[in-house]
């Protein structure tokens, strides 16, 4: 009950943040305008539409997740609202979980809104471009990717300032999207490069696996078993997020507010 109460309050608070609403409106506007920019690319207009839509959802989702994640705990401390919450019979883990779930619900609502517009635009554009399972999966995988990123932002927010947290989370997202690069560097001859690449490759989350736009843009690329691949990535996101939240709780449990 306590965790859900904090999550509900966080969701309601986040949905009233102007910056997040502006990001959502801009993203929805860009997706809605997708059909009119197809002529700018020599590719087939449907490919441009799908590519643009998923890219906009990813970028807007990324900004919304980072902005929500880095602020959710520092804002409570800065506004001193945390005093009236933690002085009540609230365990610190309930506070962290509530804040995470509230932030996650915010990201879900925003990605869902963008996703509905995206799928609607695709369906409206041409009957031949009917909404496919891959497109729905593409939007869903963006959400799970953001769940993992949000857990990371919450973890950093238990000890880092919002500015440091922003750059840390963003940098990890970028490096985590280049897993093929870090993997290739693990066989580098330079031992320092090899060590760094190995550490980065195995410790940082592999965000690249969540991007399935390529499959939509290049239908000729196929996965041997897409259901298993997607399921594995979802489980990976949940386990990795759980570990990050556990670490966040351990740090926050000893933090003075």
């Amino acid at each position: 009950m306590v965790t859900m109460a904090i999550a509900k309050q966080t969701l309601e608070d986040m949905l009233r943040r102007k910056i997040l609403l502006i990001l959502l409106i801009v993203a929805v506007g860009m997706i809605a305008l997708g059909p009119s920019v197809g002529f700018l690319s020599p590719r087939e207009s449907s490919v441009v539409l799908k590519s643009l839509g998923l890219a906009v959802i990813l970028i807007a989702g990324l900004l919304i997740t980072i902005l929500a994640g880095i602020q959710v705990i520092p804002t409570e401390i800065e506004r001193r609202t945390i005093y009236t919450v933690l002085s009540k019979p609230v365990q610190r883990y309930e506070f962290i979980l509530g804040k995470f779930l509230g932030g996650l619900a915010t990201v879900f609502v925003m990605i869902a809104a963008m996703g509905v517009v995206f799928l609607g635009v695709v369906a409206w554009q041409d009957a031949h471009h009917a909404v496919s399972r891959e497109m729905v999966t593409g939007v869903a995988m963006t959400f799970f990717q953001m769940m993992l990123l949000g857990a990371m932002a919450i973890f950093f927010s238990t000890f880092a300032t919002p500015v440091v947290n922003f750059f840390l989370t963003f940098a990890i997202f970028m490096v985590g999207n280049m897993s093929s690069v870090t993997e290739s560097l693990t066989s580098n001859k330079n031992p320092a490069t090899k060590l760094l690449a190995t550490v980065l490759h195995y410790i940082l989350p592999n965000f690249g696996n969540f991007n399935i736009q390529n499959k939509l843009i290049h239908p000729e690329q196929t996965l041997s078993n897409p259901t298993v691949f997607i399921f594995q990535n979802i489980v990976y996101a949940i386990i990795y997020s759980a570990i990050l939240l556990l670490l966040a709780i351990l740090v926050f449990d000893r933090r003075e507010v």
Partner: protein, 321 residues
């Protein structure tokens, strides 16, 4: 009577950014607050009052010492269920309405419906918040209305013990008087109130016992009537020479002279006859003998000054009603 709050040797030290210099915010504090009393916790800005309260609530952790709240160790969840806290200059979620904020806090106490709605309505009525404002977002509230929400959230769980940090600070006289009534009513219900305040007139009206801390150390503790005991007497006279004034000063009394008149603002009761004898012996006239009761402000200022602290107007707000 059992102790609602028991503090033994509570100490909080902070290190500076270089981890070298040590700042002692609370220094081996010993204190007992009895159940059912309204206890005044006084001190200058930075004396360690808020730090002490935050340690008692488990928001920060002591460096040394122990304490119990309602017989339980610091940070205990079961104790927190029976405790409430109004922070100094409390902020609440601006976009939520007064009703929604109290509903949220009631959920944190695991109070289910329909009891939750009943409690929210009752505390809003208890703090005299205009019903028209109940469903309006907090960003449109005045400071006094926000403070009422602060008190209301501190009452939502029907607590046994309330920690109130400067509850009447910055309020207009009417709002202060109303909030004083609320705190007084809370005390009449047998609840314990731990009241940290600069408003000495409020403390004097509300509290049974007080403590004064300075530099994190306890300087005075006791009933207000005991601490303010010992009247001072003001004596006014005229027609005496400088020699007589010197004799009066030799009694270690402050003497103020203007146009042949003298005023001794604070003589002890047992010094009055000596001063009168000296004036009469010099063929002077005693024009007035006025007894003055010591105020809490006098006690506070004397106590802090004795401990080496300067007291500014910001530290003491005694008579602004």
């Amino acid at each position: 009577m059992a102790a609602a709050v028991s503090i033994q040797g509570l100490t909080k030290k902070y290190l500076d950014v270089w981890n070298k210099a040590e700042i002692v915010a609370v220094d081996h504090l010993n204190l007992e607050v009895e159940e059912g009393e309204i206890f005044g916790f006084l001190g200058r800005n930075g004396a360690g009052k808020t730090t002490t309260i935050k340690m008692l609530l488990g928001l920060i952790f002591p460096t040394e010492g122990t304490a119990t709240v309602l017989g339980r160790p610091l940070g205990d969840i079961e104790a927190k269920a029976e405790v409430s806290y109004l922070p100094e200059e409390a902020y609440f979620y601006e976009t939520m309405s007064g009703w929604d904020i109290l509903d949220f806090y009631a959920r944190l106490f695991r109070i289910g419906e329909p009891e939750r709605s009943k409690r929210v309505q009752k505390v809003l009525e208890d703090v005299y918040l205009d019903p028209k404002a109940w469903r309006r977002p907090l960003r449109g509230y005045s400071k006094g209305m926000r403070q009422r929400i602060g008190i209301a959230q501190a009452l939502i769980n029907d607590p046994k013990l309330l920690f109130l940090d400067e509850p009447t600070s910055g309020l207009d006289p009417i709002a202060r008087a109303e909030l004083r009534d609320v705190i007084h009513n809370v005390g009449k219900q047998g609840k314990t109130v731990f009241l940290s305040s600069h408003q000495l007139s409020d403390v004097e009206l509300l509290c049974d016992r007080i403590s004064i801390i300075h530099g994190g150390r306890l300087l005075a503790l006791g009933k207000i009537s005991e601490l303010t005991a010992g009247e001072k007497v003001e004596i006014q006279a005229e027609g005496i020479t400088n020699g007589t004034v010197d004799k009066i000063k030799s009694l270690k009394l402050e003497v103020l002279q203007t146009d042949g008149h003298i005023r001794i603002p604070a003589a002890e009761a047992n010094q009055v006859s000596s001063v009168i004898d000296l004036v009469r012996g010099a063929k002077g006239t005693v024009t007035a003998v006025i007894p003055h009761r010591r105020t809490l402000e006098d006690v506070f200022v004397e106590t802090v000054r004795k401990a080496g602290g300067d007291v500014s107007a910001a530290d003491v707000k005694g008579g602004e009603n």
